[in-house]
């Protein structure tokens, strides 16, 4: 299966990873190679198979709808690259 550099760049944009032309050309054959190898799955007849949704049968637990955590703003912000006035900060989004 062949993957072109435009596809690599489109996927990289979806994944929010900046990628230059040179890197895209390097990655294109690599990804093509891996996706080509994965392609063999299509030969398995799965028409009567349900996709696996739970590895080990388990039940979804419910808990009471009560507050069990909170009031830890300092801890939440402790590892932020930039925090101001008790908030995470990011570049201006709206002019």
């Amino acid at each position: 299966m062949s993957v072109d550099t435009a596809t690599v760049k489109r996927v990289a944009k979806l994944a929010r990873i900046a990628i230059g032309d040179e890197e895209a050309s390097r990655l294109a054959p690599e990804l093509g190679n891996i996706l080509g190898w994965i392609e063999q799955l299509s030969e398995v007849d799965t028409s009567s198979v349900q996709p696996m949704t739970a590895v080990i049968p388990n039940h979804l637990r419910l808990r009471d709808d009560v507050v069990t955590d909170g009031n830890i703003r300092t801890e939440v912000l402790a590892n932020a690259p930039q925090a101001e006035h008790g908030f995470f900060t990011v570049p201006k989004v709206i002019e």
């Binding site: 929010r16 190679n33 398995v44 590895v55 590892n79 690259p81």
Partner: protein, 494 residues
Amino acid sequence: MSDLTDLGIRQIRDGVADGDFSAREMAEAFNAAVAAAKPLNAFIVETPDHALAAADRVDQARAAGDTLPSMAGVPIGMKDLFCTRGVQTTAASHILEGFKPEYESTVSQKLWDAGAGMLGKLNLDQFAMGSSNETSYFGNVISPWRRNDGGNAALAPGGSSGGSAAVVAGRIAPGATGTDTGGSIRQPAAFVGISGIKPTYGRCSRWGTIAFASSLDQAGPMARDVRDCAIMLEAMSGFDPKDATSLDLAVPQWEAGLNASMAGKRVGIPREYRVDNMPEEIEALWQQGIAWLRDAGAEIVEVSLPHTRYALPAYYIIAPAEASSNLARYDGVRFGQRDLPEGANLQDMYAATREAGFGDEVKRRILIGTYVLSAGFYEAYFTQASKVRALIAQDFERAWEQCDVLLTPTAPSAAFALGEKSADPLAMYLNDVFTVPSSLAGLPAMSVPGGLDKAGLPLGLQVIGRALDEQGVLNAALAIEERAGFVARPARWW
């Protein structure tokens, strides 16, 4: 170096309880071994004070006549994928460099509650993605083993739990935590001649463990022998309401249940695990393993797992798909590194942060995962892989009608040299051919050392069991261990 570092988990626990030595002496001996092991590059952060503080608590408890918990006085290595409060946790990535969690992972907390102390945070493949420990931002881990050809080539300790494997084999820690998504406990354990078990999916809480592929990730112990693994797995396991897939079951007493007799047990040999180009020595070891289990009283039966060859391609859709979703959280806003080019907007900041923060293999997997989940491809790739995964699990279900455990080699080769496979991502992926199917099915599986190849490097045998039958897996591994008499260890060169 003191002989104390030759002791394993059980010997340390019992020796501390009996007063043969203090927990502090033990922590000091292993701290010294850690400090002397820098050439292996196994630790990202060393935490000698954590080990000493834990030891002092144990010594005080003993002096006060308190009952000691199950791993009292045992210093261990912690894979740097487990969040540890106040101690840098990176998953061997640049994007998390400097991240000091404000909380403790459930698995590490359980180990501290059991009286263990931490020697340091162990190097690994970046975000646990790799089979050779060559994708870490902090450099390769060097295996303590060398080939007997006098060449001194630096060998891979396996991956992703490469630091864990190196320190246990090198007598730098009596045990270490690992995590296994497609073989990351078992393959490195095999490469360095130690034991390691991945329990049933859901036994160990995933809370506070940095996520790679959530439907596959399981923590487990890596240690010198089967008994030590049983002790440590008991300490790590147990229900956790903070993990939605945690199993709400009591933890069995695996150590007390150890029994090397295989009388009345049937051992399945899956015929599809005879792969092309497998070294003769691995085939020979497999046959030897069969003979050992027969000697232990087991009946040997050939079984078929017909979808085995589709396990790896299914894995390389499911794991990257889950990874691309899990790793979306690294955005440079809440934690970790941020890259903010001059004049960049929010979207530019995300893209620059992730470009600078992730290594090549991580990016490759995020891109593959994003591709297979993207509009128009989801059904053909992800849904198809999830169906094939169901067929693989069904193969195992059918096999359990004929046998109690399965015996296979752990890996299709002994340890390779660093750099030998890193140029071809696909060749590296194929190294997980024997470990991935049981991961997809969530089954307990263990690697136990069987012998050495001609180059003097360890080879491992894998035992796979039914869901929740860790005991059956441990017992078969014990039967092998008792007969293999594996005592080889790497000569110290570091």
